[in-house]
Amino acid sequence: MLNSTLSALGAALAAKQVSSVELTKLFLARVGALNRKLNAFITVDEEHSLAQARVADERRAGKGTAAAAGPLTGIPIAHKDIFCTSGLRTTCGSRMLASFTSPYDAHVIERFDAAGAIQLGKTNMDEFAMGSSNETSHFGPVLNPWDVARVPGGSSGGSAAAVAARMTPAATGTDTGGSIRQPAALTGVSGLKPTYGVVSRYGMIAFASSLDQGGPLAKSAADLALLMNTMAGFDARDSTSLERPAEDYGRELNLNLAGLRIGLPKEYFGDGLEPDVRARVGEAVRWFETQGAKTLEITLPNTGLAVPVYYVIAPAEASSNLSRFDGVRYGHRADKYADLAEMYRRTRGEGFGTEVKRRVLIGTYVLSHGYYDAYYLQAQKVRRLIAKDFADAFARCDLIMGPTSPTTAFALGAKADDPVQMYLNDIFTIPAPLAGLPGLSVPCGFDARGLPVGLQIMGDHFAEAKMLGAAHRYQQATDWHLRAPKEAPL
């Protein structure tokens, strides 16, 4: 059961081989056994989860007035602690919100609730989603279940580690510059960042609003498709939510790979890529060639500018979004202050951690008088050049493949005091969100130390079904995605 796909769990529930209460207890026990070691969850409320499971069992049995059961009815799902939940506290990994309970649910939470999924708990994350290692969380780092001396990636590191350790069948995450794909790669799970605007940002605590996008993490591409069918959809409360007809993200799972044009950006295979990562990604690409796919070298010439652009735009938007945390309406307030201005400064000085403060300060600076044109507007212009690189590339190919991360999981503390090295590690995941494009990561093998390697697949806007199809075909021929980590034996 612990290693089952979502569709297998759904089938077991439908056939009454297991009840949702039993399934929820199984995963709660797994969380209880492993969380002390891995720190993947911030909040778990067994009674809350089991109450939802009892309702799901009644719904599966056709009792009550609820809608007919769906594929996720009764299945536990963990949620990144960035999604507001009225039934569980929402901390965003910050001291600022350490005791905050939202008065409303995020759109994504409403969708999973309506589908009858069980809220298994809230997963640990880098504070306000700012980080690539999960070390910036106020609640302590998440440890990588493949090697507890290493990071799981971030910012959705709790969700990724929880899926990898089979503490939950699936989880939600958010991706601003790689926060779903990079931890998926570093923990050996599958993760999808959808096209900007496909998943509503309502109730998803904002970091950088022109980049933030929610998405799923799970063991397989087929599971990601099932989760997307629930998560995606128009929501009038998010002004950038796209009005599009509902789509079945699993419709291309049997994608014919013959003739598929796969672009390999030369900038993604240059210096700085670990040899084992290069080898594993190369082997995966060769498998697609054996299936009849045509690979071609492409160029995304402005790739090297993506990290600098991101570290102007994302902090600028963050400095604006995080101005709401002022100690007045919700969250932490300092104990001692002489006046209102000092109350703001102390509250934010105490409530935010080092990385969040750094990014708010960067953003404040690049938006300040005299620097706006030189930094913020210039970054927005270079952002367009990066988007144009992708538009040119997708005129020649159907999908782009490359490594998700230049390295496998790095050691705890290795980059924690060097922000520039930490930022540069996201070089392959930052470009897609700058262009609003979807990207996913699936496991494609291990390095010599036994750490997972991720294959990144990027597509044009709204190409999620095709990307998931390619990933699913690969997972039918390989078993990397079914391997469970040694620190969390099945």
Binding site: F100, P308, R329, Y330, Y344, P419, V420
Partner: protein
């Protein structure tokens, strides 16, 4: 660009974030390292390029949705204020700003 600790304190004031004298040097050094990264953008020729503020504007005609100017929210003031650090009689309490 390179910040001095004095300039850092001006930015910190604008951002309403207290930076202690003890942390000032370390915060300044790390910010300057990040500014060194960002400064690469200055060498890029962007003449004639429009700034991109919406990630899909290059490919799609994205229009801002409008809705009728009608009240759509129910009054949930008590629920919203239940999490406030200090609230009373429907008001958020802050230190006195006018004598």
């Amino acid at each position: 660009m390179s910040l001095t600790p004095d300039q850092l304190q001006r930015i910190a004031l604008l951002a309403r974030i207290e930076v202690s004298a003890e942390d000032e040097r370390g915060v300044t050094d790390r910010l300057n390292a990040v500014f060194g990264l960002i400064d690469q953008l200055q060498a890029v020729d962007t003449s004639g390029i429009e700034p991109m503020s919406h990630p899909l504007d290059a490919r799609l005609s994205v229009r801002q949705r409008l809705r009728p100017d009608e009240v759509t929210e129910a009054d949930r003031r008590d629920a919203y204020q239940s999490g406030a650090p200090a609230a009373e009689k429907g008001l958020y309490l802050v230190p006195k700003v006018l004598e």
